[in-house]
C-alpha cells in the first residue's frame, strides 16, 4: 500500500522524544540501501544515537559509507555554511569565510531560522544534485519540526532579495513536492506520543506545504489472547485453579500471572490510544506497525529487526 514511501527522494522522520525516531530512521535508510537505492541518512540532533543504531563510530558532516549504498552523516551547521559559501557563492577566499561565519553566527542568534535553513538547505542540495537516490533525515522532535520545515518560508518572509532569498525558493520547490519529499511521524501507542502525533499531523497540514507521508507506530505490544482466552485466564486466577497451579509450578506462579496481567493491561490501554490515533488521522494516510522487540537494544540487531518489520509493512 505504501511501497511508494521509499520512492520519494527526501524523507524527514520526526516523533516525540523516546519513541524510537532514530531507530526508525536508521531502519528506513537500511531498507532503502538494501533495496538498491544509494541512500544517505543524516542525524540532525547530533546526539550520536544514529551512530549507535549502526554500531559505528562517531559520524561527521562528511558522509561515511557504512555498507553497500548506505552513507551516514551528522549535521553541523558550521560545516554546512562553509560548504554553502564555497559551492553556492563560489567565494574562493577562505579568509572571507571567517567574518562571514561570524556574521551568520550572529544572524543565526538573531533569527535562528538561519540555522534551520543551513540544515534543510544542505539536505535539499543533496537531493537537487542527485548525489543520492534517497535521503533519510533523523530530524528534530515533534515540537521543533514545523520550525525546521518552514524555515525557508520564514526566511523568505524576512529576506526579500539577495542570494539567500533566491536559495530558499528552490528549497521550497523540493520540500513542497509530494513526489520528492515526505514527512514521517514516529509514535508509540502511549498517551502523550499519540496526542502529539495527532496535533502535529494537523499542524503539518495547516502550516506547511510538506506532505505527511506515513505514521510509523513503534513498539506495538502483541495481543496476548483473544476474548475466549481472556475468560480462561480470569478463571485460572480463581482460588482452586490457583492452588493447583501453585502445587505444580511452585510459589512463583502468582508473579507469572501478575506479569501477564500487566501485559494485558498495557496492551489494552494502548489499543485505545491506537484507535484514537487511527480515528484522528486521514483515512488515506498509511500507518506502519513495528512490534515491540522485547529487547531495548539500540544496536544493529534492533535496527535490522525494525527494518524487517517495516519491509513487511511496506510490501
Amino acid at each position: 500500500m505504501s511501497g511508494s514511501l521509499l520512492e520519494r527522494r527526501l524523507l524527514f522522520v520526526t516523533g516525540k522524544g523516546g519513541v524510537g525516531k532514530t531507530t526508525v530512521s536508521a531502519a528506513l535508510a537500511l531498507l532503502g540501501a538494501r533495496s538498491g537505492r544509494r541512500t544517505l541518512v543524516c542525524e540532525v540532533d547530533a546526539k550520536g544515537t544514529l551512530a549507535a543504531a549502526y554500531e559505528t563510530g562517531r559520524l561527521a558532516f562528511e558522509p561515511r559509507q557504512l555498507e553497500d549504498r548506505l552513507f551516514a552523516m551528522a549535521m553541523n551547521t558550521e560545516d554546512s555554511l562553509r560548504e554553502y559559501v564555497g559551492l553556492q557563492l563560489r567565494v574562493p577566499l577562505l579568509a572571507r569565510v571567517r567574518p562571514l561565519a561570524r556574521t551568520l553566527d550572529f544572524v543565526a542568534t538573531a533569527a535562528p531560522g538561519v540555522r534551520e535553513i543551513l540544515t534543510v538547505g544542505k539536505l535539499c542540495y543533496e537531493v537537487r544534485e542527485e548525489h543520492y537516490d534517497l535521503v533519510v533525515v533523523d530530524a528534530v522532535a515533534t515540537g521543533h519540526i514545523i520550525g525546521q520545515l518552514t524555515a525557508p518560508q520564514a526566511i523568505q518572509e524576512l529576506v526579500h532579495v539577495g542570494v539567500v532569498s533566491d536559495q530558499t525558493r528552490w528549497m521550497r520547490t523540493i520540500l513542497e513536492d509530494p513526489v520528492l519529499t515526505g514527512l514521517i511521524i514516529v509514535t508509540t501507542t502511549e498517551e502523550m506520543p499519540v496526542v502529539e502525533t495527532i496535533e502535529l499531523a494537523s499542524r503539518v497540514h495547516d502550516e506547511t506545504k510538506v506532505e505527511l507521508a506515513a505514521v510509523v507506530v513503534n513498539r506495538v505490544l502483541p495481543e496476548l489472547f483473544g476474548r475466549a482466552e481472556e475468560d480462561v485466564f480470569d478463571r485460572l486466577r480463581g482460588a482452586e485453579p490457583s492452588a493447583r497451579l501453585r502445587a505444580e509450578a511452585g510459589p512463583g506462579v502468582h508473579e507469572v500471572f501478575d506479569a501477564a496481567e500487566l501485559a494485558v493491561s498495557l496492551r489494552r490501554r494502548r489499543t485505545e490510544y491506537l484507535a484514537a490515533l487511527r480515528d484522528a488521522l486521514p483515512p488515506s494516510l498509511p500507518m506502519l506497525f513495528v512490534p515491540e522487540l522485547f529487547a531495548r537494544a539500540t544496536g544493529m540487531r534492533a535496527t535490522s529487526q525494525v527494518a524487517s518489520a517495516l519491509a513487511e509493512e511496506l510490501s
Binding site: G17, V19, K47, L100, T103, F106, A110, A111, P112, G113, E116, A141, G143, G147, A154, E157, L158, V159, H160, V161, G162, V163, V164, S165, E190, E191, M192, P193, L224, F225, A228, E229, D231, V232, R235, L236, G238, P241, L245, E248, A249, G250, G252, V253, H254, E255, V256, F257, D258, A259, A260, L262, A263, S265, L266, R269, F294, A295, R296, A297
Partner: protein
C-alpha cells in the same frame, strides 16, 4: 544531605525537573508539586511547559495559560486529599513571556512598540526554538524573586541538548555584550563604515540583501536600549540556578538513550557546581520479573502446558487445548518482559554518579491525568 524527596523539597525553594523527552518529566514535576502542597504546606507553584491535555484540564490549566492559577481546594477534596498548602499552576507561553519581558525593560513606549512590531522580533519569539530556553529560566527567576511562592517546581522545556537551558541566560548576556553586536548596528546608526569593515558589509549585503540588514540593525538598535536590564537580569538568573535553595531533579526511564542523557546531565550539573538533588527512575518494570521462583514457575508452565491444560480444563470450564494455550502465552509473556526487566536492572547497576536520593517508580496501571493520579505517583516518589 537529604535522604528522601520529601526532605529535599522541604529544604528548597526551586526544584527543576530535567531529562530527555518522553520520560514523564511533566507528570513527575506536577506530582512533586501536588505532594509538596499537600504535605509540606505553603504556596507551591508548578511551572509547566507542555502538559498533557487531560492533565492540564484536570488542573484547570487550559483556560488560563500563562497566568498563575490556583488549583481549587475542592479538586483536592474530590480525590480525598486535604492539602496543608496551596497548589498553583502556570504554563509557559513563550511569546507572551517575551512580550512581558520587553514591556518591563523597554525604556519608553515608542521603543516598546517598535520592538513588538519588528518582523525579526516576531519571528524569534514565535517560531524558533532557542528562545524558549531563555524565557523559561527568565520566567522562573521572575516568579521566584517575586516572593509569591515557597516552592516552585519547574518542568524544563524539551531542548535539543539538555544543557541548553542552563546556558541560555549566560549566552543571552554574552550576546548583548558582544562587540559584534555593536559592530553590526553601526551602519544603521551612521553612514560611516570603515575601510577595513567594508568587504564585510558588502558580503553580508550580497547574501542577505539590504532590507534584511536594515531590519536586523533596527532590531538590535532597539534591543540595545534594553541591554543593561537584560544583562543584569541574565546574570541574576544564572545566580539563582546555582543558589543553594535550588535543586535539580533528573528524570529518566531505564532505557539506554534517556539514561545516557541523564548521566550526561548529572555530570554537567556537577561540573557546573549545580545541585543534583534526586534522580527519578520512571516506569520501571516490577522487580518480580527477575524473581527466580517466578522464572522457574514460567518454565514449568511452558514445559507441562499440555498436562496442566488437561488437568485444569474441568476447573475453568474450557477445552484443554485452550487452557494449555493460555498457560503457554502467560509463560512466554513473562519471559518477554523478563528480557526487558533484566536489561533495565543491568542499566541501573551500571548507572554511575546517581545521587543519594534515587527513586524508582514502577509502571502505573493507569495514565496520570488528574489530581488523584498525581497524588498516587507522588506517594511513590515521596519516600
Amino acid at each position: 544531605m537529604s535522604t528522601s524527596v520529601e526532605h529535599l523539597l522541604a529544604a528548597k525553594e526551586i526544584a527543576i525537573a530535567c531529562g530527555s523527552g518522553g520520560v514523564g518529566k511533566t507528570t513527575v514535576a506536577a506530582a512533586l508539586g501536588t505532594m509538596a502542597a499537600t504535605h509540606l504546606g505553603g504556596r507551591v507553584l508548578v511551572l509547566t511547559v507542555d502538559p498533557a491535555r487531560r492533565l492540564a484540564s484536570a488542573l484547570g490549566l487550559e483556560a488560563f495559560g500563562n497566568a498563575e492559577t490556583r488549583v481549587a481546594p475542592e479538586a483536592f477534596a474530590a480525590v480525598g486529599l486535604e492539602p496543608r498548602g496551596e497548589l498553583w499552576v502556570a504554563m509557559l507561553d513563550t511569546k507572551q513571556s517575551w512580550d512581558d519581558l520587553v514591556r518591563r525593560h523597554a525604556p519608553d513606549e515608542k521603543t516598546r512598540d517598535a520592538i513588538l512590531a519588528n518582523p525579526l522580533y516576531t519571528n524569534i519569539t514565535a517560531k524558533f526554538v532557542q528562545s524558549h530556553d531563555y524565557i523559561a529560566m527568565e520566567r522562573l527567576f521572575e516568579i521566584h524573586s517575586s516572593g509569591r511562592y515557597d516552592l516552585v517546581v519547574v518542568d524544563t522545556p524539551p531542548t535539543r541538548n539538555a544543557l541548553d537551558f542552563l546556558d541560555a541566560p549566560a549566552r543571552m548576556a554574552e550576546f548583548f555584550e558582544s562587540r559584534l553586536l555593536r559592530w553590526l548596528t553601526v551602519p544603521y546608526r551612521s553612514r560611516f563604515v570603515t575601510l577595513a569593515s567594508r568587504p564585510f558589509y558588502q558580503m553580508a549585503d550580497r547574501i542577505l540583501g539590504t532590507q534584511f540588514l536594515q531590519d536586523i540593525a533596527e532590531f538590535f538598535s532597539l534591543f540595545q536600549t534594553m541591554q543593561r536590564g537584560f544583562v543584569a537580569r541574565a546574570k541574576e538568573v544564572t545566580r539563582v540556578l546555582a543558589d543553594r535553595r535550588t535543586t535539580f531533579v533528573v528524570v529518566s526511564t531505564l532505557e539506554a538513550a534517556p539514561l545516557d542523557e541523564a548521566e550526561f546531565f548529572m555530570d554537567a550539573l556537577r561540573a557546573r557546581r549545580l545541585q543534583l538533588g534526586a534522580l527519578v527512575l520512571n516506569r520501571v518494570l516490577p522487580p518480580y520479573l527477575l524473581d527466580a521462583r517466578a522464572t522457574a514457575a514460567a518454565d514449568v508452565l511452558r514445559a507441562s502446558a499440555d498436562d496442566l491444560g488437561a488437568d485444569l480444563a474441568p476447573l475453568v470450564d474450557a477445552p484443554p487445548a485452550r487452557v494449555s494455550g493460555v498457560l503457554t502465552e502467560v509463560a512466554n509473556s513473562f519471559s518477554n518482559f523478563q528480557v526487558v526487566a533484566k536489561r533495565e536492572a543491568e542499566q541501573r547497576a551500571e548507572l554511575a554518579g546517581a545521587p543519594e536520593v534515587t527513586v524508582a517508580v514502577p509502571y502505573l496501571d493507569e495514565d496520570v491525568h488528574d489530581l488523584g493520579g498525581l497524588a498516587r505517583l507522588g506517594a511513590l516518589l515521596w519516600g
